[in-house]
């Protein structure tokens, strides 16, 4: 019971095999589907009144929309608004995943590196494609530092390319590590509380319980912040691709 990593276990709900590949519908998939459905239903029904003066729910979805669009306008500029749907869905998907994970007993799919890495690779690949479509081969100037002496080009260009590729690793590891560390920390402190509660050391358990409550509040902050960080970094990478220096 006091196993802090048990919550990250993936178990298949509907076992499924296609051509030797295990494509079972797992609890991770369940929560991804849940968060997608939640986003769609929320956005659909919160704007249902179409009031000029928005009600509470309509205000939430409108301010989410405004937040993302001003993020794009500030970081990328007007040209970036063409990619608003992509960034908005990315933001809402991660945000909902993080927040669903804060419900006790639920599963946080953003605490798995493979999920966040897929999102990160998706961001970098699509940003690269956007860059090539908009600038053609001129986009490769991104990997050529200005005023480089010619004899250093064979050394510096690979470094720039690797530096470009590290973006997807740091993007995904940041989200995954924050979510996993936070959730494991909550469980570890809760384990201390449970273990010490019935013993003469119970004052320690009470202190730990208080700490755990504050950590839970902190985790909500991290859940919001990491979704924001992921989104703003996506905007910055998009900016690099759209507005070449």
């Amino acid at each position: 019971m006091v196993d802090p990593l048990h919550q990250f276990m993936i178990h298949p709900l509907i076992p499924l095999k296609i051509g030797g590949w295990d494509v079972s519908f797992t609890n991770s998939s369940l929560f991804m589907v849940l968060s997608t459905l939640l986003i769609i239903t929320f956005l659909r029904f919160s704007v249902n009144p179409r009031a000029l003066v928005p009600g509470r729910l309509q205000l939430i979805s409108e301010s989410l929309y405004e937040f993302t669009s001003s993020l794009i306008r500030d970081n990328v500029g007007k040209a970036g608004l063409a990619y608003f749907p992509y960034i908005f869905s990315l933001f809402l998907f991660i945000l909902t995943g993080n927040l669903l994970g804060m419900i006790p007993g639920s599963f946080t799919f953003t605490s798995h590196i493979i999920v966040t890495f897929t999102l990160g690779v998706l961001v970098i690949v699509s940003v690269t494609i956007i860059g090539f479509v908009r600038h053609g081969f001129h986009f490769l100037r991104l990997f050529y530092p200005q005023n480089t002496p010619l004899f250093l080009v064979p050394l510096l260009v690979p470094i720039e390319v690797i530096s470009y590729l590290t973006r997807m690793v740091s993007l995904s590891v940041r989200l995954f590590a924050n979510m996993m560390a936070g959730h494991a920390m909550i469980k570890i402190f809760a384990g201390v509380v449970v273990t010490l509660m019935g013993t003469p050391l119970f004052p320690v358990a009470l202190v730990t319980l208080a700490v755990n409550v504050s950590i839970t509040g902190f985790e909500f902050l991290v859940a919001l912040l990491q979704a924001y960080v992921f989104t703003i970094l996506t905007c910055i990478y998009l900016n690099d691709a759209i507005n070449l220096h």
């Binding site: 500030d74 690797i162 740091s170 590891v173 900016n239």
Partner: protein
């Protein structure tokens, strides 16, 4: 990289300095990880057993350092004349 109007400082995030330190470490680590991965791929394709890995890990570490320099706002384009901040802007005193 000349600063475009309307861009916010990408290094800004409302995090503690501890979080900032973690991010510096992460940038370096991800450079080495990507170098490791590329080294494996290069060795696998060309059959140059240890050398691709050695070279790529070193290049990856260099890329990690470059990432850290960019994150700290210390330029990162070593030969451009535009973006190197003066030491006064960094809050240092050079009279010692």
């Amino acid at each position: 990289m000349p600063k475009k109007p309307g861009t916010v400082n990408p290094n800004f995030s409302p995090q503690s300095s501890l979080g900032f330190a973690y991010r510096v470490g992460l940038e370096f680590l991800s450079g080495i990880l990507v170098g490791l991965l590329l080294g494996y791929v290069v060795d696998h394709i060309f059959g140059t057993q240890p050398w691709g890995l050695v070279a790529m890990v070193i290049l990856g570490a260099a890329a990690g350092i470059l990432n850290i320099f960019r994150m700290l706002g210390l330029g990162g384009f070593p030969f451009s004349k535009v973006d190197v901040p003066k030491s006064e802007e960094l809050g240092e005193k050079k009279d010692g």
